[in-house]
C-alpha cells in the first residue's frame, strides 16, 4: 500500500431543502496533516464532514482520494476512513466492552478478535473500570471516551471526527491529542471539527474557517 494519501475537495456545494449549506469549498490535504474545521453553529461543519465521508451527497463539485473520486468503486474509500460523528454510535443496551467489540466488527483494519487490545484501548482512555457498565449508565463524557477508544483500535489512515473534543475534560483532551500525534507519526490524516484552536498542541495543522451562508 502506498503511503501517500491526498484528499481533495473541489468546489463542493451542498443544499438541503433548497437552503444553501455551503458552497465553493476547496480543500487539499496530505498525510501527516490535520484539518480543523471551525465556524459558528449551523455553518455546515457536520454536513461538510459527512460529505467527505461520502454519506452526504453534494450538489456540485467532488471529493477525491489520491485523485480518484470517492464515489468510484475502485477508490476503496471506505477501507481507508474511520468516521466518528457527534452521535457516539453506541448501543445503550450493551456494555462498554461489548460495544467496542461490536464496533470493531465494522472496521476491517481492527483486530476484532483481540479482547486484550480492546482492554488496552479502554486503559488508554481511562475507562477500564466501566468495562461491564451498560452504556446507558455512563455520563456523556464517558460515552464520548468509549466512542473515541475506537481511534486506538483502528489502523485506518484517514480519521473523520465530528466535534471529538465535546464533553471531554482537559486530561482526556491531552490523551486524545497524544493519540493524534501518534496517528500523524503513522502517516495518518485527520479531519475534525472543533471550536478549539489545536494549532498550539499539534504540528501541521490547517484551519478551515466556515461562514454562515443563510443570511
Amino acid at each position: 500500500m502506498t503511503n501517500n494519501i491526498e484528499i481533495s475537495v473541489n468546489s463542493a456545494a451542498c443544499y438541503k431543502n433548497n437552503n444553501i449549506i455551503f458552497k465553493d469549498i476547496n480543500i487539499l490535504l496530505n498525510n501527516r496533516e490535520i484539518l480543523v474545521v471551525t465556524g459558528p453553529n449551523g455553518c455546515g461543519k457536520t454536513t461538510l464532514i459527512q460529505s467527505i465521508c461520502g454519506i452526504q451527497n453534494l450538489e456540485s463539485g467532488h471529493i477525491s482520494l489520491n485523485k480518484v473520486n470517492i464515489q468510484h468503486q475502485e477508490c476503496n474509500y471506505l477501507e481507508n476512513i474511520l468516521y466518528i460523528g457527534h452521535k457516539n454510535s453506541l448501543n445503550d443496551d450493551l456494555t462498554v466492552l461489548e460495544n467496542l467489540d461490536y464496533l470493531c466488527a465494522f472496521d476491517s483494519s481492527a483486530d476484532s478478535k483481540d479482547t486484550k487490545l480492546i482492554r488496552k484501548s479502554m486503559e488508554y482512555f481511562n475507562i477500564s473500570k466501566y468495562e461491564d457498565y451498560m452504556v446507558s449508565q455512563l455520563s456523556e463524557g464517558n460515552k464520548r471516551r468509549v466512542a473515541l477508544a475506537r481511534l486506538f483500535l483502528t489502523k485506518k489512515k484517514i480519521w473523520l471526527l465530528d466535534e471529538p473534543l465535546n464533553n471531554l475534560d482537559d486530561e482526556t483532551t491531552k490523551v486524545l491529542i497524544k493519540l493524534f500525534i501518534r496517528h500523524q507519526d503513522n502517516q495518518g490524516l485527520i479531519i475534525l471539527s472543533s471550536h478549539f484552536d489545536l494549532s498550539k498542541e499539534l504540528n501541521n495543522v490547517k484551519i478551515f474557517k466556515m461562514e454562515n451562508q443563510s443570511d
Partner: protein, 220 residues
C-alpha cells in the same frame, strides 16, 4: 465478524425481554377481543378465526417493525453502518432474521395453543401455521423497509403502516386463498409455492434495498 454480530443481536434481545414478550401478549390480547365483540357463536368463529389470526399477526408485525431503526438512527449507528467497510448487507440480513426469530417465531409457536382454544381443526391449523411461517418473514422485511423509509421524518408513527400495508397484500391474498382452499377441500400447493417464491424473492433483495434506503434517509 458474523459471530460478533450474532452475539450482539442476541444480547440486545435478551436484555430487552419486553421486545420478545410484548408482541406475544399483544397477540393474545387482540385475539381475545374478537370473541368479546363477535360473541361466542362457534360456527361464526370457526369460519372467520383463520382470518382473525392473520389480522392479529399483521398488527403484531407492524408493532414490532415500526420503530426498528429508530434507536440506531438516534445513536448514530446507521452512520457507522454506512461508513464502514464491512458487509452491511450481511448485518442487515441478520437483523431481519433476528427480528423475525424474536417477534414472529414466538407467536407462531403458540398457534397450536390458539387452535385448541378456538377448536380449529388440525388441517386448518396446519395450513395457518404453514402460511404464517412462509408469510411473516416477508411481512417483517417489508415492515423494516418501511421503518427505514420514514427514518428521516420526525413523526412517523402512523405513516409507516400506511406506506407498507399495501405491500402486504400479495402475501395476504395467497395466504387467505390457501386457508380457504384447505377448508373447502381443494388443492393448495399453488398458493404455497407462490408464498415460497415471495419469500425467496424478498429476503435476499431486502438487505440491499435497506442499505440504499438508509443512505437516502441519512442524506435527507
Amino acid at each position: 465478524m458474523i459471530k460478533s454480530i450474532v452475539k450482539t443481536e442476541l444480547a440486545i434481545y435478551f436484555r430487552n425481554l419486553n421486545s420478545i414478550f410484548l408482541p406475544l401478549i399483544f397477540f393474545f390480547l387482540i385475539l381475545s377481543v374478537f370473541p368479546l365483540i363477535l360473541g361466542t357463536d362457534k360456527i361464526l368463529l370457526g369460519k372467520i378465526i383463520p382470518g382473525i389470526i392473520w389480522i392479529t399477526v399483521i398488527l403484531t408485525t407492524l408493532l414490532s417493525s415500526n420503530n426498528f431503526f429508530r434507536d440506531d438512527f438516534k445513536n448514530g449507528v446507521i452512520e457507522t453502518y454506512l461508513t464502514s467497510d464491512a458487509s452491511i448487507e450481511l448485518v442487515l440480513f441478520f437483523r431481519i432474521v433476528s427480528c423475525w426469530v424474536f417477534t414472529c417465531l414466538p407467536v407462531i409457536i403458540f398457534i397450536p395453543l390458539v387452535s385448541l382454544l378456538f377448536e380449529i381443526s388440525f388441517q386448518n391449523s396446519a395450513i395457518i401455521l404453514l402460511t404464517l411461517i412462509l408469510g411473516t418473514p416477508v411481512l417483517i422485511s417489508i415492515g423494516i423497509f418501511g421503518s427505514a423509509l420514514t427514518l428521516g421524518l420526525a413523526k412517523n408513527n402512523i405513516l409507516t403502516p400506511v406506506i407498507i400495508i399495501p405491500f402486504y397484500i400479495p402475501v395476504l391474498i395467497f395466504s387467505a386463498s390457501a386457508i380457504e382452499a384447505v377448508s373447502i377441500g381443494l388443492p393448495f400447493t399453488m398458493q404455497i409455492y407462490i408464498l415460497l417464491a415471495l419469500l425467496v424473492l424478498v429476503l435476499p433483495i431486502m438487505p440491499y434495498l435497506l442499505k440504499y434506503t438508509l443512505e437516502l434517509s441519512i442524506n435527507n
